[in-house]
């Protein structure tokens, strides 16, 4: 089986959908000729032509709106927002339009748009190239929210997103584009080639939206997370020698509460983790639902590992990022509670 890093897997997913469906079009800032600042669309304009893969003006609101119009017309646009930090000029078109057109037209018009955008810190991007804004999108009725943690899922989830008739905001944790990350700042880069999920078929396949994956089975503690932190959690569990069950949500909305509840009912102890700021982060939603459904199984308060309620600082990036150390500390606290 060929190995791919996450960028290559995403590129392969777009190649597959462009090839199978003439209605798929791809655009974004620098996404055409250049192939994107991270290279995710590299080679696609050359292969499919300027009509299918093209550059878009620097205006994220216009990019989302154009995708809406195209999708209502019958296309399946895949729009790239260069960094998740820059999605906010387009937020109104997501909240007020993209998410609601099916609803407000009672199904007459639909908007099967996929918005891809790199998120997260750990690459010294400073406060405007490091955000994890997924929680904002989880509060919008009518959009699905996805964040893969590895190349295999990235490709399968992206194809599923493009093929979905619902709009999907597809977050790509850029820190792990080139390899998994254990959450130790100075750790040497590991490559996806050495990871089982680095094996990515060239063909079409999907990973279903709405289904979490248990990436580590365990009995003492449940960790619910997604994106880069899946790997940090795994490394921390190994290092701490705690038999944690680690759930990679993959799809954030709708989240797979069945898988979460089954695990929590088994372990009785839970940590939810994300890189975004703590207050009103998606961890809060998970906790609210977990305590509602598994109250009597809980043996300790559900703990949150999150970014702080500050912008993502450039120089103190590693004091902000929830790394291995913070995971281990919190795991111990929860086990002792």
């Amino acid at each position: 089986m060929p190995t791919k890093n996450m960028i290559q897997a995403l590129n392969s997913a777009m190649d597959v959908v462009l090839d199978r469906d003439d209605d798929v079009v791809i655009f974004g800032e620098d996404a055409g000729y250049f192939g994107g600042v991270f290279g995710a669309t590299q080679g696609l304009q050359k292969k499919y032509g300027l009509d299918r893969v093209f550059d878009a003006p620097i205006n994220e609101a216009a990019i989302v709106a154009m995708a809406i119009g195209m999708s209502a017309k019958g296309l399946r646009p895949v729009a790239e927002i260069q960094f998740a930090d820059y999605i906010f000029p387009g937020f109104d078109q997501v909240v007020s339009e993209l998410s609601r057109i099916r609803y407000r037209s009672a199904g007459q018009f639909t908007t099967p748009v996929t918005i891809r955008t790199p998120c997260g810190g750990g690459i010294r991007g400073g406060q405007t190239h490091s955000m994890s804004p997924e929680a904002f999108f989880t509060h919008i009725p009518g959009v699905k929210v996805v964040m893969p943690s590895n190349p295999y899922d990235a490709k399968g989830l992206l194809i599923a997103s493009v093929e979905s008739d619902d709009p999907v905001i597809f977050f790509e944790p850029k820190r792990i584009y080139n390899g998994p990350f254990n959450g130790v700042p100075d750790a040497p880069l590991t490559s996806w080639a050495t990871h089982p999920k680095g094996e990515v078929p060239d063909e079409h396949y999907t990973v279903p939206l709405g289904k979490a994956e248990i990436v580590r089975a365990g009995s003492e503690l449940t960790i619910v997370t997604y994106g880069t932190l899946v790997h940090v959690a795994q490394s921390a569990a190994e290092k701490a020698g705690i038999d944690a069950e680690i759930i990679d949500l993959r799809t954030i909305v709708p989240y797979d509460m069945e898988t979460i509840a089954a695990s929590v009912n088994k372990t009785g102890r839970v940590i939810v983790a994300h890189e975004a700021p703590r207050t009103s982060g998606f961890g809060a939603e998970l906790i609210a639902q977990i305590q509602e459904e598994c109250f009597y199984a809980l043996e300790a308060p559900v703990a949150r590992i999150t970014g702080w309620d500050t912008p993502y600082p450039h120089a103190h990036e590693w004091a902000y990022f929830p790394g291995q150390e913070r995971f281990i500390r919190t795991m111990k606290t929860v086990m002792e509670a």
């Binding site: 609101a61 709106a65 017309k73 019958g74 078109q93 007459q108």
Partner: protein
């Protein structure tokens, strides 16, 4: 400009309640004077059209000049009939709102030509992205009055299942996009649709409408900018009815000479049109559609008019503008002007006009009777309550299923 010191400046309208409005020094280009260039002219070269005023019906109600679409009497009578129906429909709906039959209403009084003439100049296959004040598009495209009313009173037959505020229509078979309550969002969406049509090799044109106040929104720019980049086959209509709720057009126009002139900076064809002149709106729309269909890209069209009634059922315009302003508005009334034109041609008379009004009134009355038989917002029946959990996604997820259960519906 002769000021010599930087001072904070806020534009103010010429007249406020208590003032005697007077438009006698409004300097408007005369009907028939504007030249009609080839529709494939370079956009930036339309400067004179953006600053002038395209008019066809002169002060004697005669059709003059190059922009006359030379419609048949039948076509003009059809236009007149649609406009009359639109006005009578609006009047009835307003009354019904006052009677508590619906939650909200917005009339298009004085602006009927803008939607009716555009609908008639476009093909039925052309796509419309309107705002909330172009009900004439629906009328002209033959939407059933009963269906329009069922939406407005949010009853069991509302094709939007009661999900939208009245007048926020959506009608896919009529190529009429779902109206947003959020101003301006449809402009860049219309470009996306138009790009899609061009990608698919279709010759469909997309037209969109916003108001003068809405040109201030970022989405106004977003739409024009996108169309300028991708040369999209789209018509951007700016309905300059002088007012945005209580704010006069100067608040959004600023130092711009006209709203049409805002298109020039994007290199788009830019026209300023007498919006109360049915023939001018028709002729200009035809021109813009031809330009779009032939690959010339977008046109920005300012439709110069006057909002002759309140913004909506929620405001009282006498609080912010003189009551008589609308009456002395120099461009007159679009229905009256087309009617007089037809009479001048010997193709119409007062008696037929009265008969038309009577007929349309009866149509509206009859339609409302039927519509009400399917329920009203106040007394029901509405769409089934559980339908409020549908169409959020293609399929409801576990959260929506559970919430529906919680509500017990």
């Amino acid at each position: 400009m002769s000021t010599q010191q930087s001072r904070f400046h806020v534009p103010a309208p010429p007249f406020r309640p208590g003032d005697e409005p007077d438009f006698s020094n409004l300097d408007l280009q005369k009907a028939g004077e504007a030249k009609r260039p080839d529709p494939l002219i370079e956009g930036f070269e339309t400067r004179d059209l953006a600053l002038g005023l395209i008019g066809v019906l002169d002060h004697n109600h005669q059709a003059v000049g190059e922009w006359d679409p030379k419609l048949s009497p039948e076509a003009m009578r059809e236009g007149l009939s649609h406009m009359v129906l639109t006005r009578i429909f609006d009047d009835r709906m307003l009354k019904l709102q006052r009677q508590g039959k619906m939650s909200f209403y917005m009339k298009s009084l004085g602006e009927e030509a803008i939607s009716v003439a555009a609908a008639m100049a476009l093909r039925d296959s052309d796509m419309l992205f309107p705002s909330y004040r172009q009900q004439g598009l629906l009328i002209a495209r033959g939407r059933h009055l009963v269906d329009m009313m069922c939406h407005c009173i949010s009853n069991s037959r509302d094709n939007l299942k009661g999900r939208q505020l009245p007048v926020h229509y959506a009608w896919k078979e009529g190529n009429f996009f779902t109206i947003s309550g959020n101003l301006g969002t449809q402009f860049p969406q219309a470009v996306g649709w138009a790009m899609g049509a061009a990608m698919k090799g279709e010759d469909q044109v997309t037209a969109s409408w916003i108001g003068d106040g809405t040109t201030a929104e970022g989405d106004f720019h977003n739409g024009l900018m996108l169309a300028s980049t991708y040369r999209a086959p789209v018509i951007f209509n700016v309905v300059n009815n002088q007012w945005a709720i209580s704010m006069y057009q100067g608040i959004s126009k600023g130092e711009a000479p006209t709203f049409a002139a805002k298109g020039l900076g994007y290199g788009l064809a830019s026209l300023r049109v007498d919006g109360n002149d049915f023939l001018a709106v028709h002729g200009a729309t035809q021109w813009a559609a031809e330009r779009a269909r032939k690959g010339g890209g977008a046109t920005v069209m300012e439709l110069y008019t006057y909002r002759a009634d309140a913004h909506s059922t929620s405001d009282d315009p006498t609080k912010y503008r003189p009551k008589t302003e609308g009456q002395i508005w120099p461009l007159g009334d679009p229905i009256e002007r087309l009617k007089q034109h037809l009479i001048g041609l010997g193709e119409w008379d007062e008696k037929r006009h009265q008969a038309l009004e009577t007929e349309m009134t009866a149509l509206v009355t009859k339609a409302y009777k039927e519509a009400e038989s399917y329920g009203t917002l106040h007394d029901g029946p509405l769409a089934p309550t559980h339908s409020m959990f549908e169409d959020v996604f293609a399929e409801p997820d576990w959260r929506l299923r559970r919430q529906r259960q919680d509500l017990g519906v």
